[in-house]
Symmetry: D2
Amino acid sequence: MISFENDYSAGAHPRILDKLKETNMEPLPGYETDHYCESAAEKIRKSCSCPEADVYFLAGGTQTNAVVISALLRSYEGVLAAETGHVNTHEAGAIEYTGHKVLTLPEHQGKLDAGELRAYMEKFYGDANHEHEVFPGMVYLSWPTEYGTLYSRKELDGIAAVCGEYNLPLYIDGARLGYGLMSGETDVTLSDLARICDVFYIGGTKVGALCGEAVVFPKGNAPKYFMTIVKQHGAMLAKGRLLGVQFDTLFTDDLYFHISRNAIEAAHRLRKILHEKKLPFYLESPTNQQFVVLKDEIYQKLQERVALSYWDKTDEAHTVVRFATSWSTTESDLKELEKILTEISETR
Amino acid sequence: MISFENDYSAGAHPRILDKLKETNMEPLPGYETDHYCESAAEKIRKSCSCPEADVYFLAGGTQTNAVVISALLRSYEGVLAAETGHVNTHEAGAIEYTGHKVLTLPEHQGKLDAGELRAYMEKFYGDANHEHEVFPGMVYLSWPTEYGTLYSRKELDGIAAVCGEYNLPLYIDGARLGYGLMSGETDVTLSDLARICDVFYIGGTKVGALCGEAVVFPKGNAPKYFMTIVKQHGAMLAKGRLLGVQFDTLFTDDLYFHISRNAIEAAHRLRKILHEKKLPFYLESPTNQQFVVLKDEIYQKLQERVALSYWDKTDEAHTVVRFATSWSTTESDLKELEKILTEISETR
Amino acid sequence: MISFENDYSAGAHPRILDKLKETNMEPLPGYETDHYCESAAEKIRKSCSCPEADVYFLAGGTQTNAVVISALLRSYEGVLAAETGHVNTHEAGAIEYTGHKVLTLPEHQGKLDAGELRAYMEKFYGDANHEHEVFPGMVYLSWPTEYGTLYSRKELDGIAAVCGEYNLPLYIDGARLGYGLMSGETDVTLSDLARICDVFYIGGTKVGALCGEAVVFPKGNAPKYFMTIVKQHGAMLAKGRLLGVQFDTLFTDDLYFHISRNAIEAAHRLRKILHEKKLPFYLESPTNQQFVVLKDEIYQKLQERVALSYWDKTDEAHTVVRFATSWSTTESDLKELEKILTEISETR
Amino acid sequence: MISFENDYSAGAHPRILDKLKETNMEPLPGYETDHYCESAAEKIRKSCSCPEADVYFLAGGTQTNAVVISALLRSYEGVLAAETGHVNTHEAGAIEYTGHKVLTLPEHQGKLDAGELRAYMEKFYGDANHEHEVFPGMVYLSWPTEYGTLYSRKELDGIAAVCGEYNLPLYIDGARLGYGLMSGETDVTLSDLARICDVFYIGGTKVGALCGEAVVFPKGNAPKYFMTIVKQHGAMLAKGRLLGVQFDTLFTDDLYFHISRNAIEAAHRLRKILHEKKLPFYLESPTNQQFVVLKDEIYQKLQERVALSYWDKTDEAHTVVRFATSWSTTESDLKELEKILTEISETR
């Protein structure tokens, strides 16, 4: 069965597996002190135009969010996020487990608004009783968002400006970073992100790795003893090589960007197909996730032949579903989808 | 340079990499719901003679300890462990980070003593003020221990009996489980372990996997919503296949046991070499870790040609070092070590 | 200066101080094991018609909420509360500090709606991915609410019914319980509350005590070793007598109810005065808190002569303020307020 | 029955109750912003010769320890304490509940040794793997200790010197501070303590208050937003006046010191009586706690007429018990004890 279920249903890009095999018997020190980790970090520094950056590798996104956020906040602070932010919805309370509140702001197709952020901060410090409340201690946003949407450079700069005024570190969750960077509809580069925020991560799990996210503190501004914090969270792999080799491969010859582009090109084709089939969009994104509203009978038939994601119900008879392309989506997957949609529409 | 530094300096057993490659492009559902995870779990159930067991896969040992221990304890309880227990010493406070105290008992070559455990429990409940103290809520032991030593079946039964009396779940950390099971000097089988304890884990990271530990609740006694707890700890991999495929491979054709035996055979040869070279043992273990005391000048020379682990200082001029064999140690590594030791002893 | 700032600006009811003095030199065992605590508990059991109730005394409201909520929830669960619930807004993240998310529902003058609660639960369990989300594990509501409003018996029964269906403990924050019970506009009795919920607390701090809240588990259903949990939170007073004597006094000769009635009668007079002065109500409550909207110039003048509480801004030129009466409000306070309001309105 | 059970079995010094009564109806702002708190803080600053000190009031000792320690430590740090330190033994895991390990050092009659502390720190930083361990982040000691013993000024200076070298804040638990300061056998003054450490608390609960401890950051070095941290721990009383009035009274006309002296004089008499009765001391302290070893039959008889504390068993037939004097011990209590001991010894 073809799959548009998500961007992590296949394994890893074949070059990663080849490299793991090639380096397999080389004895290496543990805990990310090996030379593949160092090489990967150096390549990432170059890609970000941040020669001073501190780079660390963690295994997964929720883990990364919990480690970074708890490392940056003081005990009485919480993290500001959009209501739909991954940290607020789909991480089983991982942030609260570290003792911190997720403070929510309205979302606009998954995005925060700089004006609303400023208003929140003004209201907070304007309240005579604010010392009885959770202090907003940092801002979390995802780029692309959980809806596949993208902040423009101007929007990011606007948020960063408010963060600067209030001394709030800005953290960007880049679980699908590659798909944002390769979107034809963005004016944001990796260097822009590194310049704008205080810490971000480059997603591997959803962009061709077996697992792994690269955390970047662009100004060499990692919290002291960050690796001990990682260890304390149970987030440190003994065989750091698994992460080092993967990111070293992804950042060799721009592989990360090439495979991300594949997802974007596939998403363009997908959008075209969905439009041609006249499936109404719930949200049409500039990246690899597309949301359409299906009649439940169509949804049911489709599910038998295509793996896709349930998103929400709009009413008794309709369901929002997500189609995701990825680095591994093929032309043949798309053709097959087109054929299936045609067949289903004919039998309606 | 040859390495006896630890048992995680090489990558993975080649069959694992082959299987990862072979299954790579198969689209699979995430979060350990794929059929490789199920197949691996089923093979583990068979190996343990526990058809009812709940089996989960986590990425690393510290993570597994923190998740399992915090899932089993009530807030006012702590975990009993030997002073040298990994949870007490080398996990950067991961257990305390979850809010629980590690309550320590004396260690005997890394092992707990059932009598001392009972005495602890009697004293605790005998103290009129015990409701102001941390309640002992479970027992943690490692098998093999951090020193490579092994509890006999009788010793484990003795500890389990005290646990039974006081209703303390018994948890066995099996980071190096294979090396214990394949030791010629044990009377404990995998089925014994599954019968004796309430939960244990089968270490993958140190026994041939890239990463991964299999947590087994032998009586189908996993805490409710255990996967949500795993997620909350940031310990759930999106691509559960990475763990499923690895453990499925390790438990196919007894690979886990065969490669563990290799480490034990290599350890035998190693012990023989160390004895022949008259290096005094600090602790000679029945598994893959051997501890010897070196004059510091020897240590220095050796370090230049062999990777090994610093353990402790015994006095100003001597150092305890650890030699570890593993599934990947070769006859040629051992010969090279022998040669190096001979050369160094001749130049003394 | 007269004060309508809150209901904890005076000390304690004089009978409490007398009793503290009278019992002062009696040597008593610590940690709430003294006979005053037992006597107070017994009187509370009688008042609640709950002979089996477990009763504990804690020092303050935020503390009580954090202890009770964390004691009832499993690690992967959060507490459902109205957006305006005290636990969500004014406790500096005390709940999150214990590792749990506050899951919010819409508020209607500070109240939850049973239908919205059911809808939330249905949506949660209807979501295929709910195991990646925080499980709703209990319901928190305050009676009276933070706005002084009261759930009717029918409303409470409705919420309790949903709780029953989903096995959610229902917890009632009674920081101002007396003021609710003595309101002429309620059909809820203390016995009703004890019947309807799983745990509640009877507020002392805001109803005549120096400090102290009595936690009641009406069905003898306190979590095991609750006092150890209290101790672990740093919430156990060595001199439990301080709480025991106070609650013993408050529940002797219905003092708690008599002094609560005083606040309600004073609130009636207050409402009348505010109406006469034509100050527009933001929210007119059936208990001791009244919210009016003031032009900022009036607010400024008033502040110089009457202590009251800032609540919110409605626009550039208007402020919501709270007037609170209490057990200690006197007729002379009210007359003085009336006079001041008259004078201010004349100078407008 | 007379009581030597502890130093918190009576209520409060009568002057405290008088002052509470006198100030009772004065309307005051909440949360320690009232003028009694400020006056008390100012008097404490004077007593400590620390005009810059930050002073806060909390309700109890375990609470104070948990709040101060968690406020000072980074997430990856633990607190160093003697094995017998209150934070390690009798606080139900309150420190671990905040996520931090208590790192233990040997105790010598309850005291830490500066040399052992330095050795610990050297070993820690000398260990190549220390980034996998809990970082020692501060030092906790109690003065007097849990055994009533006292560090000399030289001993404290020695510990503070090591703390200074390693940048470890030094925290002194002064639950029984007055009894130490008034001991004839100390060369340490309140100003010395304030000079030597980074933070300490002046115990009220055990020295004449109903509840309350005054936390002093002598160099004005309180962590930012300390009151929010206090609130987050549920440790802030709405009626801060309860603590302010008590400490204001205790530090007016040296009441705190006068009543502490009473306990010390009573302890002298007690020691004399115990010596005369030839009861063997387990530990004879220079403060208000005395430990003797009793034959169990004597212990049993004594218990019927005198309240005292069980401490430990030395063997099958003997028990260590603690006699504590306090600010409230009277000459008549001592005479009665003498009489009882005489009668019991005669009937042997």
